[in-house]
Amino acid sequence: MPLQLKAGLLIVGTIVLLGLLAPWIAPHPWDTISMRTRFLPPSATYWLGTDEYGRDVLSRLLMGTRLSLAMGVSATLVSLAFGVPIGLAAGYFRGKTDELLMRSADVLMAVPPIMLGLLVLAVTPPSLWKTAVAVGFVYIPPIARVTRSVTLALANEEFIQAARARAESTSYILFREILPNAWPPLIVEASLRVTYAILLGSALSFLGLGAQPPSSDWGLMISEARSFIDRAPWIALAPGFAMCLLVIGINLVGDGARERLDPRLKARVGKS
């Protein structure tokens, strides 16, 4: 296993584990307001200090880990649920279907992702799960594109011709024959999308269009800490660094996995 992949898996694995165990390992309650402990700098009791309501930053950070991960994963599942069937159809039927679907994807990709997210969220009052759906919607086109290109390559293979000769139904061919073979590149693409989804989701929360107080979503935490940046910088820095670490971890995993899957790329990376 390449070093990148190992390091990435270690980082992501640790963060996921911490997120899952958050309610049990958090040293303090994440949402209890206490005026006497406001703005305490990091100490032995409060490892990462406390925020403007006297809440423990570390505990909030740990609980927020779950939200960020859930946001990234569920948004990506939404993109996969729509993008994969679209890509399969475009790549397998070709012709007019392909043209129509891919041009629509081009149009969606011609709008900056955050605008598309804003547009979707403008319609309804903000909440975390709506943000996840909006973010998932934004990343349907890239998933559809990757699926399509894999499908195009697979559609001419002998085993697909054999399935057609056996008069298998189209849905059988698409989901039982092509899809299982298309997974490896799709998983790599999806893992990178998780990063984008986390970043976009937290940006939307930061703008007040995602998670709402008293949630401890990382983007919202940074947004709330803005007003106290000169007297209590740790409130903003902790979730900021956590987010960077998570993104670096996922990127390392994605790069490492891609290198293993794509020998052409491996040769090039090896050279440079």
Binding site: V111, M115, L119, D230, L237, V247, K271, S272
Partner: protein, 318 residues
């Protein structure tokens, strides 16, 4: 080449029409009735009905769309519901301020990004290359809004060199204007530098190992000429595509950056119009952003085709 330009232009037009339908469609899904939004929640029903008739809200949706879209083609963007002012001048001011940020950042990203990439490639495998590589890897991972916080923390709170937010027009004095631009521009540059420098580095390394660079060296050309005239021109091809995409990302990035720095541009107008349900402003602002984004991609395609004859004469352009 003319056919290619026309085809690309047709696609830009198609994208804009589709985006306008998308924008109009999604915003007309809004549960709250516009007439209620204007008159307040306690308005008597007959008054609401009268205003609905006046605004044409009872017409079929495609008629409403046609009225809106043809208005835009005539340059009439409608009125902001919240500020009771025509949108066009409001939007124009915001666009100018936002383009000040994005164009300045874009130039800096291009120059610094390509510069760092080339330096790293020429020092390939040495400590300087590793430093640049690690720094850019970190740069990709840091979200824009966190960069903004870091910039405020360092330059406003600790060093006290820059104001932490706000905007001053040029008439307030050049230095004061510039001071308010520096922090948002810095944030945008930090956030987008990494893609450009990483890509330039990898394509530059590849090009420097190619036979024609060896040939150019063998001819006895000075290294500077080999690097700039022979290698860089080809290595920049993928970079240009990424730069164009980056311009689009910058247009997205201003939403966050302008909100953080309370900079009254297009991004802040967008967030403001969403928060206040000012639909006509929202529709117009998103359409403008999509237009700028599409034109940036169009410009990049043209530049790419001009630099790369393979595409200019090829058929597959979509």
């Amino acid at each position: 080449m003319a056919g290619y330009i026309l085809r690309r232009l047709a696609f830009v037009a198609l994208v804009l029409v589709a985006v306008s339908i998308l924008v109009f469609g999604i915003t007309s899904l809004l549960p709250a009735n516009v007439a209620y939004l204007i008159l307040g929640p306690f308005a008597p029903p007959e008054q609401v009905r009268a205003l609905e008739l006046k605004l044409g809200l009872t017409d079929p949706i495609w008629q409403q769309y046609w009225r809106w879209a043809s208005g835009i083609l005539r340059g009439d963007l409608g009125e902001s519901m919240l500020m009771n002012r025509p949108i066009a001048p409001l939007l124009w001011e915001a666009i100018v301020r936002s383009l000040t940020l994005t164009v300045t950042s874009f130039i800096l990203i291009g120059v610094i990004g390509v510069g760092l990439g080339v330096i790293a490639a020429l020092r390939h495998g040495r400590p300087l290359d590793h430093t640049v590589s690690v720094a850019t890897y970190l740069g990709i991972a840091v979200p824009e809004f966190f960069w903004a916080i870091v910039v405020i923390l360092v330059f406003a709170a600790w060093l006290g060199w820059l104001p932490s937010s706000g905007y001053e027009p040029l008439s307030a004095g050049y230095w004061i204007w510039l001071q308010h631009i520096i922090a948002p521009v810095m944030t945008l540059v930090f956030g987008h530098l990494a893609h450009v420098s990483r890509l330039t580095r990898s394509s530059m390394i590849e090009v420097m190992q190619s036979p024609y660079v060896t040939a150019a060296r063998a001819k006895g050309l000075p290294e500077r000429v080999v690097v700039i005239r022979h290698a860089l021109r080809n290595a920049l091809l993928p970079t240009i595509t990424v730069l164009a995409l980056d311009f689009g990302r910058l247009m997205g990035g201003i939403v966050v950056v302008e909100t953080v720095f309370a900079y009254p541009g297009l991004g802040r107008l967008l967030v403001f119009s969403i928060q206040n349900r000012d639909l006509p402003t929202l529709q117009a602002a998103i359409l403008v952003v999509a237009a700028i984004y599409a034109l940036a991609n169009f410009a990049a395609d043209l530049l790419y085709a001009w630099l790369n004859p393979k595409i200019r004469y090829g058929r597959s352009v979509a």
